[in-house]
Symmetry: D2
Subunit: 435 residues, 4 copies
Amino acid sequence: MSEAGVYKAAHKQYAATPPMGWNSWDCYGASVTEEEVLGNARYMAEHLKPFGWEYVVVDIQWYEPGAHSSAYRPFVPLEMDGYSRLIPAANRFPSSAGGKGFKPLADSIHGMGLKFGIHIMRGIPRQAVHANTPVLGTDRRAREIASNNICPWNSDMYGINPAAEGAQAYYDSLFRLYAEWEVDFVKVDDIAASRLYHIHHREIEMIRTAIDRCGRPMVLSLSPGAAPLEYGGLLTTNANMWRMTDDFWDLWPLLKDMFGRCEQWYPFVGGGSWPDCDMLPLGHIGLRSVDGGASDRQTRFTREEQRTMMTLWSIFRSPLMFGGELRDNDAWTLSLLTNEEVLAVHRDGRDARPLYRREDRAVWVARAPDGGIYAAFFNLGDEPAEVSAELAELGLAGAREVRDLWERRSLGQVSVLRFMLPPHSSRLVKLEPEG
Amino acid sequence: MSEAGVYKAAHKQYAATPPMGWNSWDCYGASVTEEEVLGNARYMAEHLKPFGWEYVVVDIQWYEPGAHSSAYRPFVPLEMDGYSRLIPAANRFPSSAGGKGFKPLADSIHGMGLKFGIHIMRGIPRQAVHANTPVLGTDRRAREIASNNICPWNSDMYGINPAAEGAQAYYDSLFRLYAEWEVDFVKVDDIAASRLYHIHHREIEMIRTAIDRCGRPMVLSLSPGAAPLEYGGLLTTNANMWRMTDDFWDLWPLLKDMFGRCEQWYPFVGGGSWPDCDMLPLGHIGLRSVDGGASDRQTRFTREEQRTMMTLWSIFRSPLMFGGELRDNDAWTLSLLTNEEVLAVHRDGRDARPLYRREDRAVWVARAPDGGIYAAFFNLGDEPAEVSAELAELGLAGAREVRDLWERRSLGQVSVLRFMLPPHSSRLVKLEPEG
Amino acid sequence: MSEAGVYKAAHKQYAATPPMGWNSWDCYGASVTEEEVLGNARYMAEHLKPFGWEYVVVDIQWYEPGAHSSAYRPFVPLEMDGYSRLIPAANRFPSSAGGKGFKPLADSIHGMGLKFGIHIMRGIPRQAVHANTPVLGTDRRAREIASNNICPWNSDMYGINPAAEGAQAYYDSLFRLYAEWEVDFVKVDDIAASRLYHIHHREIEMIRTAIDRCGRPMVLSLSPGAAPLEYGGLLTTNANMWRMTDDFWDLWPLLKDMFGRCEQWYPFVGGGSWPDCDMLPLGHIGLRSVDGGASDRQTRFTREEQRTMMTLWSIFRSPLMFGGELRDNDAWTLSLLTNEEVLAVHRDGRDARPLYRREDRAVWVARAPDGGIYAAFFNLGDEPAEVSAELAELGLAGAREVRDLWERRSLGQVSVLRFMLPPHSSRLVKLEPEG
Amino acid sequence: MSEAGVYKAAHKQYAATPPMGWNSWDCYGASVTEEEVLGNARYMAEHLKPFGWEYVVVDIQWYEPGAHSSAYRPFVPLEMDGYSRLIPAANRFPSSAGGKGFKPLADSIHGMGLKFGIHIMRGIPRQAVHANTPVLGTDRRAREIASNNICPWNSDMYGINPAAEGAQAYYDSLFRLYAEWEVDFVKVDDIAASRLYHIHHREIEMIRTAIDRCGRPMVLSLSPGAAPLEYGGLLTTNANMWRMTDDFWDLWPLLKDMFGRCEQWYPFVGGGSWPDCDMLPLGHIGLRSVDGGASDRQTRFTREEQRTMMTLWSIFRSPLMFGGELRDNDAWTLSLLTNEEVLAVHRDGRDARPLYRREDRAVWVARAPDGGIYAAFFNLGDEPAEVSAELAELGLAGAREVRDLWERRSLGQVSVLRFMLPPHSSRLVKLEPEG
């Protein structure tokens, strides 16, 4: 529980609306370089910042000098300081050389008016445990605070034993370092849904405390999913966002499946807490991917599916973290990120919920701040289908002026919303408040 | 989805605070009589009404003339009207004779300033399906709206097929009858967690619609549990209360187990929606029980356990439905129901949540309306234990005036809350707002 | 446990090799008629009997006069005798009229040198319970031996309460009737893997006892699957065959999935007990099917897949029950059923087991009675693949003469078995004993 | 699959009857010394060898110099040779000094006419992976054959990647070393039911191959349990014994629970393969135990429970591995191990199976080689109960001469076996063959 107290949750203000930004994973896997980060940041500053996009996040393995693809290299040495803390690999992040860490890169990004984020793995480096290196702020050493648990998909870390003296000091030392670097956003991995050990809720609480103590606001994002629903209260109390699924990729079954997850998690949306549908695998992705069939490519989602994804993420108010190489965006892709009417649903919608789900037809609704109603219609089937809702079901009498938000045009006065939708497609509308 | 619309939930007002009342199940099983109901109502009117207790609920099998214990009699005939609707057995509820239903009994209870509730099973009587009897308001008959699913623990009903024409008409006809009877509270069973078929969410929605259409406010209570957490949103939208567990009885393991359930469900408490810890098996219970070892008895909970139960139910804001024969209450039992300081926590507390749970020690907190903090300390272990919290953990600096609510006395200025608690016991305090 | 005693299992002799026959379900669903049964029997007698095919089995709903497709009609009346026992619908089975039951049809089939089987559902008809009709051989009536459990996919029956007096008498009365009819094979359904209640192992034991008492050998087949592996011993003791899966149809994923099931169940094969891969949906099937996309059709399996199925069923020694309308067989389909070299593997193979399974490549082996080795090679993937085994892995030194059993030709002297197999295809060979 | 071929399973001969012996775990945990091993061996040679007891097994951590109790010490250094293989800690096993390994200890034990066994953990030492040490017989090093998986309860090892070149060479090098030491029995741990990763079936196959290649017969025992039933075939093919449960201790609920496990596994008993009920926690155990409440003690089983355990293990034919400090045996404990009539059931019984299990009453039967029937009667309840069987149920007519095997006395001619049994007690009898 945070030092700030159970009912003083300053950190909820760090993400008053769902975070929007870019993350290096979908395009560069474990291997992104400083130059690539800066290139995407510049694109964001120029093209996306006016629409609310602001975070630039360096994902996993920035401390691994030999990383060159989406793959992890088991048991290899990592860059580490004298206190068991990982530091950027200077060959990949030249500005970090000489012990400067991510501070110079953060400065550059802040200079563009953007915010800077990093990814970390739960725990302490295995190499620290084997060498039994010191931990800052305690006389306990790595072996004494480590726990005999690991991440199943990455061999870099041991877990932290929450009952060990020195455990909190270790996490405090990490986040003080990140505060020195002026980090704004931390994505902690292998923590919300460890494949092997369920959720690591005590480490989440330690990290919450460490951020509260570090002296700098940082958005806390927890991965991977599916975070367990029965910890919804704890996640809401401690984090700003957490994953509802395992890694999301550009495959229709994963997108279709997300609807069921949103139906479970919507009561937890809002107030600085954001169940997370995961990154947007749009545009040019997988540039150095070596995992199975999905290599360097344009997103495999059709345009209909891309809109369906953006519509669900927006009305549900998931964080929006773009996964592609921004500099390779075409006009269509850019248009998905810069539609102000759609982004207003994401920013200002309230009380989103499913109106119904009947097999492959789904309707979601949310309140607009002006008293209107946002409504999203989805055909999740493989055949065209009519998806409809009567205004009475929305608690509205008579007819209303309806606007198609993606198309930015009026549909006129309507009393029954009825759309014939192609497979996998959607429609996002606003019912205007009574005149 | 209710006709009143997704964002116009009038029914949330029917239970602005968690319902309080008496239910016949724990004392009389399937066999309560009109005389017993009236006797308990009179006791409530005299002794409990000033403290907020108001509902008098007749539980299961009131339509079964031969019911005489806690047991169900399989495949026996039930009292039914000409439209496939069950009606009170006149031998057990004499005032219902001549087709008057529960109206006379409801009138009597209303006359005491109390409210009247009944229990029903999901579905349509099996005997109606076998005789293929008519359904009011539709030309479909029983066999056409029935579904080939049953309750595993009671042989009286078939489920309703939500896709069948006439299905909604059937539920509408039921609740119109109950509105004629002037019922205020309906507990629907075999619906929130059918042992065989998970939750029957479509029947819940049909019942919501039927109540909205029936022309009378009725609190909707759903049983049994454990209602699935992944339907938390749907339950919140449609019902006023729903069970978090299977039947709760006077056994410590069940009470201890409730803490874990409350830790999962607390984000859903409030706003007219109340996750339900189930009835209070206190005082004289099991009067005609024939199930296993637990027959006619005083509650098997110790006094410490009784307070622990009342403390958890109160700070969590579960509905409070007394299960014993009220007229046999001793002074101790009555004192549990009439402590105004404790009941204020139940009525006025907000944002209750666990501060921590460490093995067998637990602390819950809630906000008081005056800016104070309610805090409950529990020792769930079998040995005495110290349970404590620092004010800093509650977001409070310095010391505060602390009051013991069960004992109704001040504990003075305190900066660390620290209680040595006997096994299974608890302490409920209020930290007064800063002077 | 059978009266014949735990170590005197006469019934194991009823199926010394895995049963082979025809079943009406895949082609006629719930609606087969006497004429259709006789037509298929005549085909079998003429074309298949010399190859070992002998059972002619009438599947579900023969007691339902209105059945006309693959669908069940809920809550409809059934033909029943005065002792709560279902009897053939005379409109569909004219020879049964006048209380003769299936005896005339059995006589006809016996006259062709074949054997006659029927399907029954576990339990007692619902209509018997509602009318509380008598049970032969006991003074208890239907309501007293019924259990409040049902089949989830068919509304005809209640379960039997094994603890009730009269329960065994009911099953005894059923099988004495079937013995009078001269039934040779009984497929009992809703018993090996009830969707709602797991396995009904006590009813299996009652049926075993009833057959042992009825005075006539009858093969006992249990459905549906997946029968639980942890009851493998009980199934082996009591039944001749039992299903390892839910209903099997002509879809590749179901066929691929069967390999994993065979890998679990092979230790239970032999000695009169046969884990059952289910019927062969080959040739002309679904003639009156109304369920979803799969209507009147030729099997959707490719020829490669058909051979793969026949190869697995044969080497594993599953029962072989043909599901198509035999009279519509083409030459290819007939060839699958009449290859003597393949059928020898099914009849005479011993100790079948997987040699390995590596993702989508699988090899099974079995012993031939002459000291040779049968080996089946499978490519379960969607791309061509080489599947191989060294003779050393089979415990054989040097090279052996190898014969392709489907093609009935020699492959010469071989030391490494290596086949390039198209997707979903297989090869079945025999390694001859050392010369 | 073994080189010896799928149908030439020489290793099945290594355990033609279920192994009997002593294991150091229950008495000495992770800390047994050479002197203690030899002391127990001498006791066995003197008192137990004539009854069939022969294996002396050194359990876990013999390579850990600092082990001094039942606890594991995380991340500590272990004794290792130059090829990534663990060797005995010379301070605990002085005869192993100078690179002689366990050969001298094995020689001593062989000199007593007994056999010698050791325990190993699946995988390769973590310290070998971190130091990337060589592996004998391959140019691959530790890091290249390790897999990123661990044992959850012991931090010593990484798993082996079965797809890595050099993986088989590593296991081959281990078992060649053990063959040089003249080991007769190897208990491999963390392999049959890893808590985190299910069964490691590929490592089981590699170990099978390594033993087949090592040039010395060794019994292969797999731990811990519960080994998954769906791998019953693979276990039978590759191992001599495998655990059906997690660690078994002297607590009645664990013993009661074993009956359900035996009911699942009995079809796999025999032919050199022995599902394993685990060690016998009898006599003086837990001498250096530091885990929870169970420290240095006499077994907590009552005498009735001890006989019940021995009776079940014997009729089921589980391996019998005594867990206590043999030298502290009292006369009662020794009597449990030296009853020739009971041990004959264990050695010579065939086709054991449950006759029935009705709640807390259970009867098991097996065939005796002379045509008699062994029968065991169990009262698993907490109240006295009559447990009975009619001879007819056993396939026997009339009456038989019956002998009580524990009491070694005749019960006379009996036609119904009926025993009034105290709680948790049992009776083991033999029905003699017809005269």
